[in-house]
Symmetry: none
Subunit: 123 residues, 4 copies
Amino acid sequence: MTIRVRSDSPDPIYEQIAGQVVFAVAGGDLAPGDLIPSVRDLAVQLTVNPNTVTRAFQELERLGVIEPRRGLGMAVTPDAPKLCRNRRKELIRDRVRETVRAAASAGLQPADVHKLIDDEWPK
Amino acid sequence: MTIRVRSDSPDPIYEQIAGQVVFAVAGGDLAPGDLIPSVRDLAVQLTVNPNTVTRAFQELERLGVIEPRRGLGMAVTPDAPKLCRNRRKELIRDRVRETVRAAASAGLQPADVHKLIDDEWPK
Amino acid sequence: MTIRVRSDSPDPIYEQIAGQVVFAVAGGDLAPGDLIPSVRDLAVQLTVNPNTVTRAFQELERLGVIEPRRGLGMAVTPDAPKLCRNRRKELIRDRVRETVRAAASAGLQPADVHKLIDDEWPK
Amino acid sequence: MTIRVRSDSPDPIYEQIAGQVVFAVAGGDLAPGDLIPSVRDLAVQLTVNPNTVTRAFQELERLGVIEPRRGLGMAVTPDAPKLCRNRRKELIRDRVRETVRAAASAGLQPADVHKLIDDEWPK
DNA sequence: GTGGTCTAGACCACT
DNA sequence: GTGGTCTAGACCACG
């Protein structure tokens, strides 16, 4: 359960945290019932204000990914894996859609984009 | 020269406007010497705050895509086509890079993304 | 003497426990002199932190509903039935008051609420 | 559009604010397209921290009741009236359900509760 | 002017 | 110990 945030990113920090938890659950690194690090611990680890972590947790709770275990912390919900896989799929599909829109309006063909994908793929 | 803005987009309006001008120039819909609509006209047409249009034009002027023609308005510069084609390429490459990053961290393979591209491609 | 707690309830667990004891006494299911389950037993039975049960018992002792019997545990007091019936009446009145406030501010009439009551009444 | 908060209430202030906006929309005091008071104005008016108001607005935006009009403020959405009437109905039904549960377990009859309702009804 | 994000530090209820 | 709420004050992007 390692989380990294980039404070120079255009995406807000709390969203980065929430997003990485979603991906961790979707990838099986976090299973239902697992307790995620406490607000204070995570805040120290990321050198970020506790309120910022709290806000990330609120978003995750709203999504139904985590739920409070009173006095213990936040635990991954039973439904979380399904929810997170769906959300991950959505996010990727949205990004693909934007890419396609930009590429198509520039006169590119699918094959051109395939090539770009391969060029940018991490080795 | 038709521009459309989506006020519900996460991208700021001034960036949408500037981006569409860049794409229009890169695609040849706007040629060097062409006058683009005045701030006031465009603001009315898009039902947008004139300041917003102004800011888009500032960005375009900074990029060297348009330049003031005293008493006439803003005109597309001689260098604009080359600049805009480069910028268009950058923008697409950035989007591709984001897509690849998201897809790779979700465990997808290049072929999977190729398929997504084809699925989302406008028919 | 069966107690059930909902950990997802907005009401704290210790209050749920105390409340159910009060209702059990008010309803005659627990009579003066009856011993209530020990903190440890109840904690195991409800899969709840013993401290939480302790706090519920403190509240009940403060209300005069239970009292310690050295070496035996906590016993229902002689005054408990009267106290609990009063408290039960208070609790119900509080809930009615909240309901009335919400309904009235929504423009409902007493007759509308009567109908809602009948609809929700357990058959 | 008058909002009042009780800082001594068990309900958090941001929820009180959000709830009153919901009721105002449900009651027709706020119509789609109306701009609600700015964060700063409302904070001053309620002598509350701006962040608290912000949080109420976030909740309302999440519910789809208000949406940002960039540079102008937050506006009531077209769907808001329907959403707010539904939410109001839910809230009342939940309260009624709790009341009925408490009353039934105390051995009361529907008629008894009807009488309590009438007693507590504001004159 | 608007809302959005973040920090710092406090207090509270619950377990 | 845990999360939840609130205040105070700062900076930023956007219109």
